[in-house]
């Protein structure tokens, strides 16, 4: 009788594990090695009625952000959790709703991905840093290939070395441009306290 009772308890335990412990190994794996990259297929692309971007930070899970509007070549993307990104030629120039936001005033001399050195102004939040000088140096890196919507695509790769000297912060952003010079994929550093951001753009 005792054994039967214990077995009943044990079987009951196995049948309804709480989500927290059941998912623990998976959660630990994800925290350590990151979330698996879910490739956007043609089917997924077709299922969205709007243009969208796949956006993620570091090893974190990617989210889909929908293109809300285009105004004067400024693309506004919105996420389900209220985060907004404004991009210009694939470069994030403003964010809203992130733990640390950025607001870049791009150089008027900046001509898309023309190689050169540009002096810009940037504001950060959390903590606030106003009117910091941002030095951006763009150059063509190489011609390469990547898989985009299940197709092998030839892309031009540009690098952007950014630096804010007075806080000792510098990093490298990478842009992948298709044959019509549209950024389809990029990795960028928005803020010293944020992980590297990776974005794939899917425009309709």
């Amino acid at each position: 009788m005792t054994r039967l009772f214990l077995i009943a308890i044990l079987l009951g335990s196995c049948s309804s594990l709480p989500i927290s412990y059941k998912d623990l190994p998976k959660d630990i794996y994800r925290l350590t090695f990151g979330y698996p990259n879910v490739e956007v297929t043609q089917g997924i692309f077709n299922s969205y009625p709007y243009s969208f971007a796949k956006v993620g930070f570091g090893k974190g899970q990617s989210v889909i952000m929908i293109l809300e509007s285009i105004d004067d070549n400024l693309f506004t993307w919105v996420g389900q959790d209220g985060v907004k990104l404004i991009t210009k030629n694939g470069r994030v120039i403003k964010s809203m709703g992130l733990p640390h936001d950025v607001d870049i005033k791009p150089s008027i001399h900046r001509d898309n991905f023309a190689s050169g050195e540009y002096f810009e102004v940037v504001n950060f939040s959390h903590p606030i840093l106003l009117n910091a000088d941002l030095l951006s140096f763009i150059e063509f890196k190489e011609l390469s290939n990547l898989i985009y919507l299940e197709n092998n695509m030839s892309v031009n790769v540009f690098t952007e070395n950014i630096a804010i000297e007075n806080i000792g912060w510098s990093n490298e952003n990478i842009y992948y441009l298709d044959s019509s010079n549209r950024v389809i994929k990029t990795t960028q550093h928005l803020h010293p306290f944020l992980d590297q951001m990776h974005i794939e753009f899917y425009l309709k």
Binding site: L6, I9, G12, S13, L17, S20, L129, P192
Partner: protein, 716 residues
């Protein structure tokens, strides 16, 4: 001229602000103080007047020959630091009897506290007073007054110490106030103690006091790297059991934060010894401290259709409410649509925050209820006891949701209690799905730390927790464990207690139950005779060492911050194998429990008076503070009518604990806690029966303070 002056002043002020802003980028983690080798925030060997924010808990480990030291540091307030240390004293044996403790080195337990007296401002440093190793053997006992001030990127610290910290001597300035301070005598040296008592008479006493100073330099553009330099006031001839050689009064250290919470350090101490250490600090005080939740409220598909259909027949409304609430793990127990008021009673076991559960019920009801419904009356149940009801105006709920203003919604909502009869009279009672089994599996670790047999003994097992709900208010609580690994073979210390061995046979319990055990098999019956009065009747294997029967009653007025409870138990000691056998020892125990929650400090005090398991009588006090995340820090102490000799080493029962909701680590909401507690010594005096489903916890929702505490979660 005046304009120029004003502009100049403004520019100066703005410049100061900008410098402050830039500094947070130049010196990341400036707000993360580092720890000394003694396990408190500080320089290298010396303390500082720095504190972590309240709701933080830290763990440090350092190696500085001849000592290895591990510490747990808690911050119940911004101005209070308490740390508990184990120090492995490598130049001294645990005892001179090798058949008792082998070749094990001495392990010292110590408690340090630090209180902030002044908060740092532009011109005023942070000032703190601290006590190192303030009880027991006092091997490292010191007191100090310390001040820390940031100037640019350097945090300067100066201080004065007493006791071990009295090198670099000046005569004790307090001696001129009172001759009590002239000489320093600690309890351990008089032999008139069982340890575990504070050496109050020795505080700030001694012929000399020591001066110390140092600085922590935050290196710019170096990812938070710090360099520390200090002038050490420790007198290493007074510390520990054997003098330690010292070639220099100056110490150096490099501390590097690998992340905001994890720091490693390397130092050169006393002019002759390398030192290594690391620390981790978790900040759990605030809501969702680490992982943002990705568990949004459920959207009902085709809600407009539901609203239209549900307007025709209220049975459809009840059924759709049942379905969509259940999909959100909110279990509807009854419902009644009366005019424009829709009353729903529900139970849930997912959300730690009761307002969040209410908000989620309201969201679903709002999506599917016909337009004619103007108010929702939502009753939260626990074990069929209606713990509280919230009446929400539908229009307000939506209006303030849009603006994210839960506090305004609170103004237009009412929170009150209803009787069990009121909810039982609801028109719709869904068919019961009882009996059912709610269960979970979790790892279970049992530890025995700091004994003479060895520093650490432990086992890991898989624990199966089940609650069999026979009726809403009748349940069987069961926990069984299957052992996976243990190192109990060398654990052999027998109890030396002079009073009934109600706890000190722990070694026998650990060893004989290592393969598998039933920790608890407890039947419960709950009733609510009056709205504020709760009762529980319990029988079975109540805890790991006792079985029996008993009852608990709790009077907990909904709108008050106090509660009163009584308990009466007839118990018998369980066999060491922790299955169904019983030992001869039987006793009857009873307590009166007084609970009081101080609203400003948010400290909950529980005072228990009565007869304890070993037949001793006295009081037990437990003080705890719960933070927004659910993280709880607590301490307890007890004193009964047995003598210090009868109690044995430690003199009286005491310890500390913390609980942390496991949802802190996940992106989904889930109930359940993890935690750790420690009493320096396991003794038999003041032992309390550890029964499951203590009424104060079960009725946690039956307090308006707890509802209001989390009200801003209602739109989560």
């Amino acid at each position: 001229m005046r304009k120029v002056f004003v502009l100049f002043t403004i520019s100066l002020l703005l410049h100061g602000k900008l410098v402050a802003q830039i500094s947070e980028y130049l010196y990341p983690n400036l707000d993360s103080p580092s720890f000394s080798n003694y396990g408190t925030t500080g320089l290298i060997q010396m303390p500082s007047a720095r504190f972590y924010e309240e709701g933080s808990i830290g763990f440090t480990w350092s190696h500085l020959d001849p000592y290895l030291r591990g510490s747990v540091i808690a911050y119940p307030f911004n101005w209070f630091e308490a740390s508990y240390q184990y120090t492995d004293v490598n130049n001294w044996l645990y005892s001179e009897y090798s058949d008792f403790s082998g070749s094990q080195s001495y392990k010292d337990k110590s408690l340090d506290v630090k209180l902030r007296l002044l908060k740092e401002s532009r011109y005023i440093p942070s000032v703190a007073v601290g006590f190192r190793d303030l009880g027991g053997t006092a091997l490292f006992a010191s007191e100090y007054l310390v001040a820390s001030k940031f100037i640019g990127n350097v945090d300067f610290t100066v201080g004065m110490g007493w006791g071990v910290m009295s090198n670099n001597s000046i005569s004790n300035p307090l001696s001129s106030i009172n001759s009590r301070f002239d000489s320093r005598v600690v309890n351990s040296s008089t032999g008139n103690t069982q340890g575990g008592e504070f050496n109050i008479d020795s505080f700030f006493a001694g012929a000399n006091a020591g001066l110390f100073a140092g600085m922590e330099v935050f290196v710019p553009r170096a990812k938070g790297l710090r360099l520390k330099f200090e002038y050490d006031a420790n007198d290493y001839t007074k510390e520990g059991y054997l003098p330690v050689s010292q070639s220099s009064d100056f110490n150096f250290n490099v501390t590097f934060p690998l992340s905001k919470n994890f720091q490693v350090k390397l130092g050169y101490i006393r002019g002759n010894t390398l030192n290594f250490g690391f620390s981790y600090t978790g900040r759990y005080g605030k809501k969702d401290p680490y992982i943002k939740k990705n568990d949004p409220p459920k959207i009902v598909p085709n809600a407009r259709v539901f609203r239209s259909v549900n307007a025709k027949n209220k049975r459809y409304l009840y059924l759709s409410s049942l379905k969509y609430l259940r999909e959100s793990k909110l279990h509807m127990q009854s419902a009644e649509l009366q005019g424009s008021n829709y009353a729903v009673a529900f139970a849930q076991n997912t959300h730690v925050s009761y307002p969040r559960a209410i908000g989620r019920v309201a969201r679903i009801l709002d999506q599917i209820s016909p337009e004619s419904v103007k108010t929702f009356e939502i009753t939260n149940l626990n074990a069929e006891m209606p713990v509280f009801t919230t009446k929400i105006v539908r229009e307000d709920f939506n209006k303030y949701k849009e603006f994210g203003m839960p506090s305004v919604l609170l103004e237009t909502s009412s929170i009150y209690k209803i009787t069990p009869q009121e909810y039982a009279a609801h028109e719709y009672q869904p068919p019961s799905d009882l009996p059912k089994i709610i269960s979970k599996i979790s790892p279970d670790v049992r530890s025995q730390i700091g004994g003479p047999d060895g520093f650490y003994f432990g086992d890991i097992s898989i624990a199966f927790h089940s609650e069999i709900l026979l009726k809403g208010n009748v349940s069987i609580l069961a926990t069984g464990s299957a052992g996976v690994y243990n190192n109990f073979d060398d654990l052999k210390l027998a109890s030396d207690s002079l009073i009934p061995h109600v706890r000190t046979d722990i070694v026998q319990y650990l060893k004989q139950s290592r393969k598998g055990r039933i920790t608890r098999l407890q039947a419960n019956y709950f009733i609510t005779p009056r709205p504020d009065l709760f009762m529980k009747f319990t029988g079975g294997l109540i805890e790991q060492m006792f079985a029996g029967v008993g009852s608990e009653a709790l009077w907990r007025p909904f709108d008050k911050n106090y509660a009163v409870g009584v308990e009466l138990w007839r118990v018998q000691q369980r066999g060491y194998e922790m299955l169904f056998s019983l030992r001869d020892y039987k006793t009857t125990i009873g307590h009166v429990n007084l609970y009081y929650r101080e609203p400003r400090s948010k400290i909950t005090a529980k005072l228990t008076g009565g007869r304890f398991l070993a037949g001793d009588s006295g009081i037990h006090i437990d003080l705890s503070r719960r933070f927004k995340s659910g993280f709880t820090l607590g301490v307890f102490a007890a004193k009964t009518d047995i003598s210090k000799t009868e109690f044995g080493e430690g003199s009286f029962d005491k310890g500390w604990y913390f609980h942390l909701p496991i949802e802190v680590f996940f992106s989904r909401y889930t109930k359940g806690n993890t935690g750790f507690g420690l009493r320096p010594l396991t003794r038999d005096g003041a032992a309390i029966l550890s029964h499951g489903h203590h009424l104060y916890g079960v009725t946690d929702q039956s307090s308006s303070m707890n509802i209001l505490r989390d009200w801003d979660d209602i739109y989560d």
